[in-house]
């Protein structure tokens, strides 16, 4: 399939999971924080770590490694939480994503972007917008709103 790469131009926040680089558009980011104390919630999927209190607002947090089925990490002083804002049924909601390490905010041009590889129909890779090559590294640009399904989001919001 052929996708217009220009629509993915813009500023991205890069972060790491294991040794891999990922990028997320700064437009959906509310704030980046160091990992705080997390209140666990029972009867939830494993990747849902619980909720945090960010300036009086209860925000659910998701471990991205577990969501991506990577090996579980021990949180250290580099572990950070990216607070994402998104719309669900016209409501603005916030969700915290736990990553290994946040790196920098970079501008990504359309020249540096390639469309995301298609591995087959069965494989659900729609949350990857495209791949960018920055400074000899490959950064996977994520559509953070599609990482969780609506059902999952609803489940989380109802907590």
């Amino acid at each position: 399939m052929s996708v217009d790469t220009a629509e993915f131009e813009g500023k991205y926040l890069t972060f790491n999971l294991l040794e891999e680089f990922y990028g997320v558009s700064v437009g959906s980011i509310l704030q980046i924080i160091a990992i705080p104390d997390i209140t666990k919630i029972p009867q939830t999927p494993a990747f849902v770590k619980g909720v945090i209190n960010l300036r009086g607002r209860i925000i659910p947090v998701v471990d991205l490694r577990l969501k991506f089925l990577l090996e579980e990490q021990v949180y250290d002083d580099r572990t950070s939480v990216i607070i994402i804002k998104m719309k669900l049924d016209g409501r603005e909601i916030f969700i915290g994503v736990i990553v290994d390490k946040v790196n920098e905010v970079i501008d990504i041009n359309k020249n540096e972007i390639e469309s995301s590889p298609s591995f087959g129909v069965d494989l659900d890779t729609q949350f990857i917008l495209a791949m960018a090559k920055v400074k000899n590294k490959v950064v996977s640009l994520l559509d953070i709103g599609k990482i969780l399904t609506n059902k999952e989001l609803m489940q989380i919001q109802d907590m």
Binding site: K11, L13, V26, I32, D77, R78, S80, V102, E104, V105
Partner: protein, 759 residues
């Protein structure tokens, strides 16, 4: 018993018999007459005193009669006249009381109790007085005073002259205890005698023992109860029936003789007694006088007898002394008897005998002295003596003769021998002991010759021996000097050893000091190590602190990074307007990253520093351990060095002892050298003396009959001498036998002490 004793004793016994023969009859006559004399004397005393008592009593009664027959008394008016009249008389006649008795017996007296109504009519003396005679009572108990009294009574006659009748009587009372006793006690008696008086019933009315009177003792009735009185009672019983007489009695165990007589006209008998002891003592006095006189005569007689005996026995004693002196061989005597009788002749004959003996003895003495003085030709003149004395003197002469002849030949032989002719011998034969003497002289000549021959041989041997000694001494001297030089070398080596040892000891002491210093520096190093350890600990601690701070810085850098990212995100949200802000955020982010990087580097450095510090601490610990081990080693070194020092000291003292030993040896060697020299010179001296001896021996004339003897025999003979000497020593119990072998250790005593030092 001596002669004079015999004569004296005989004379004395004869005298004693004579005196006893005179004294015993005198004593018997004296005994018999003495008692009679005393009894006569007692009789006279008794009679004269009885008369005296009678006269006194008569006088007192007559005085009372005179009072009774005064005109006033004849009035019979007691109250009116008589009482007043009598009062002065009581005192005058010495009565206790006076009174009057009427013919009917009524009694009135001066100090009567009113209404007494006494009646004395029944009294004997009253009844006698009523017959017109003066009367005296016995000793009676007064009805007025109840005491013992003597009553006098004199009748009052109606008128003077014949035909007068008794109209009353005057009585006087006297103290019964005193009246008669005074009379008796006034009696003149003699020593050892006493008087007493009894009445007709035997009751004592006067006695020196007043209790007898007061108790009115009746001798006869008392005798029935008291056997002591029996003898006296017998006498009294006899006396009551006779006017006067003599008697013996026993009282209180004493014997008495007594004379008694009646007092005429009165109812009493007067007794005079004399203790027989008094009489006997007087008798004994007379007897003693006789005995003393007899004894004095006896003593005088014995003295005369002794003088007489002396006169006879003195010349006999002198002769006896002379005989005893001759018996004991003492003849230098003079007899000093001058009497002309047979005793004198005996003494003269003794003197002549003594003179004859003295002459013989003085001649013999003279001959003996001459013989002692060697004058064998002197003889005694035999004609001067008689009979057996002449034979004795002749015999003495012959004895000298028999000695003189052999003596001459002896003298000749001795003379030749003395002139070194050793072949001279006695040729003639003599009897008995003379033969023995001559053989001995010949034997002596033989022995002398043999001895001189042996001396000759011995001298030769001595000469060769002394030569050997000289050579030996020389050898000894040489070896001694060699020994001395060796000792010198030993001595110098010892000195070297000594100095080395001293050096050793000094080094050991220096080593000890160094070891001490090392121990001290190890100690101080240890202290420094400890300080270093502490410093490292401090570094570690501060590294840890710094690590914490770095962590904080990292945190801050991380937060700053996040803030920068957030700022970048916000800048992006702002679009173009935020571009400048984005640049700043980028810079902040870079700074934060660099800060984090620096912190990381610092942290790594600090980690390394910490590791290094820990390692340093470990190393310090190891070094400390090593230091402690080093200290122990040094201590061991110290003790070893100490031991070295001590053993060096011991070695030094040992070397010192060896040194003194070597010195002693040196002295001994020197002494040896001197001795060797002395012995060499002595051997030379011996040699020269042997030569002299040889010359001397050669001057003797010898018959050469002993010179064929072998040398062995000569040796044996010479060795016999010490053997004989040993025998003589063995006979003396308290002397140790000394020979050459036993002397040896004593001469080697210095060597012994040297050995002890060496050990």
């Amino acid at each position: 018993m001596k002669l004079n004793m015999k004569i004296s004793l005989l004379f004395g016994i004869a005298l004693f018999v004579c005196i006893v023969g005179i004294v015993i009859p005198v004593e018997m006559i004296l005994n018999r007459n003495f008692e009679k004399t005393y009894l006569d004397k007692l009789d006279i005393i008794a009679t004269s005193n009885a008369d005296l008592i009678k006269t006194n009593l008569d006088a007192e009664l007559n005085r009372l009669f005179e009072i009774a027959n005064r005109t006033e008394s004849r009035t019979l008016d007691w109250e009116g006249v008589i009482r007043e009249n009598l009062i002065p008389d009581v005192q005058r006649i010495g009565a206790q009381e006076m009174g009057m008795v009427f013919p009917d017996g009524r009694y009135r007296h001066i100090s009567e109790v009113p209404d007494a109504n006494l009646n004395l009519g029944d009294r004997d003396y009253v009844q006698v007085a009523l017959t017109g005679r003066n009367a005296v009572s016995d000793l009676i108990i007064s009805r007025v005073t109840n005491s013992l009294v003597l009553m006098y009574a004199a009748p009052i006659m109606s008128h003077n002259g014949p035909g007068a009748r008794v109209i009353g009587m005057i009585v006087a009372r006297r103290d019964g205890n005193l009246a008669l006793i005074d009379l008796v006690n006034n009696a003149r008696t003699m020593e050892g005698s006493y008087a007493f008086m009894i009445n007709n019933s035997g009751t004592i009315v006067a006695h020196p023992d007043r209790d007898m009177v007061f108790n009115q003792v009746n001798v006869i009735s008392e005798a029935a109860n008291n056997p002591d009185y029996r003898s006296k009672a017998d006498m009294v019983s006899v006396a009551l029936n006779s006017r006067s007489g003599n008697a013996r009695f026993t009282e209180d165990g004493k014997k008495y003789i007594a004379a008694y007589t009646e007092i005429t006209g009165y109812p009493w008998k007067l007794f005079f007694t004399l203790d027989e002891d008094v009489m006997n003592s007087e008798l004994a006095q007379v007897r003693n006088t006789i005995l003393v006189i007899g004894f004095i005569f006896l003593v005088l007689g014995v003295i005369v007898a002794i003088a007489f005996a002396r006169m006879i026995s003195k010349p006999i004693h002198e002769c006896l002394d002379i005989a005893r002196n001759i018996e004991n061989g003492n003849t230098n005597l003079n007899i000093n008897v001058k009497s002309k009788d047979e005793l004198g002749d005996l003494a003269k004959a003794m003197q002549n005998m003594v003179n004859a003996i003295q002459r013989v003895l003085s001649d013999c003495d003279y001959l003996t002295k001459e013989a002692f003085a060697g004058k064998l030709k002197t003889r005694i003149d035999v004609k001067k003596h008689q009979n057996d004395y002449a034979k004795l003197v002749d015999g003495m002469n012959n004895i000298l003769e028999s000695v003189a002849y052999p003596m001459k030949e002896c003298l000749d032989v001795m003379d030749r021998l003395s002139k070194k002719d050793l072949t001279a011998r006695i040729i003639n034969k003599y009897p008995g002991d003379f033969d023995f003497l001559m053989q001995n002289i010949n034997n002596a000549g033989n022995t002398l010759e043999e001895a001189i021959t042996q001396v000759e041989l011995a001298v030769e041997q001595i000469t060769s021996a002394s030569n050997e000694i000289t050579a030996g001494s020389q050898n000894l001297a040489n070896s001694t000097s060699q020994q001395a030089s060796s000792l010198e070398e030993i001595s110098s080596s010892l000195e070297e050893i000594n100095s080395l040892t001293a050096n050793n000891a000094d080094n050991a002491k220096a080593g000890l000091k160094l070891a001490d210093q090392a121990v001290r520096s190890v100690d101080s190093s240890n202290e420094s190590m400890e300080k270093m350890n502490k410093a490292m600990e401090a570094i570690l601690k501060s590294s840890q602190e710094t690590g914490k701070i770095i962590k904080t810085i990292e945190d801050i850098a991380f937060q700053t990074n996040l803030l920068a990212l957030n700022a970048a995100v916000e800048a992006a949200h702002a679009g173009d307007a935020g571009k400048g802000f984005a640049v700043v955020a980028e810079e902040v982010k870079n700074l934060a990253l660099r800060s984090a990087e620096a912190a990381k580097n610092t942290n790594a450095l600090i980690d390394e520093s910490s590791r290094n510090s820990e390692m340093g601490a470990k190393i310090v610990e190891q070094v400390t351990k090593s230091f402690i081990e080093m200290k122990e080693h040094f201590n061991k070194v110290k003790s070893i060095v100490n031991e070295i020092s001590a053993s060096s000291d011991e070695q030094a003292s040992g070397v010192g002892q060896i040194s003194t030993g070597v010195n002693e040896m040196n002295r001994g060697t020197q002494q040896n050298a001197a001795n060797a020299e002395e012995s060499a010179s002595a051997a030379e001296e011996l040699n020269s003396q042997a030569d002299e001896l040889k010359d001397m021996v050669e001057s003797f004339t010898l018959s050469r009959k002993f010179s064929n003897m072998s040398n062995n025999t000569a040796f044996r003979k010479t060795h016999n001498l010490p053997n004989e000497r040993r025998k003589t020593h063995a006979q003396l119990p308290n002397k140790k036998p000394t020979n050459a072998l036993e002397i040896m250790p004593e001469t080697m005593l210095p060597m012994d002490s040297f050995d002890e030092d060496f050990i």
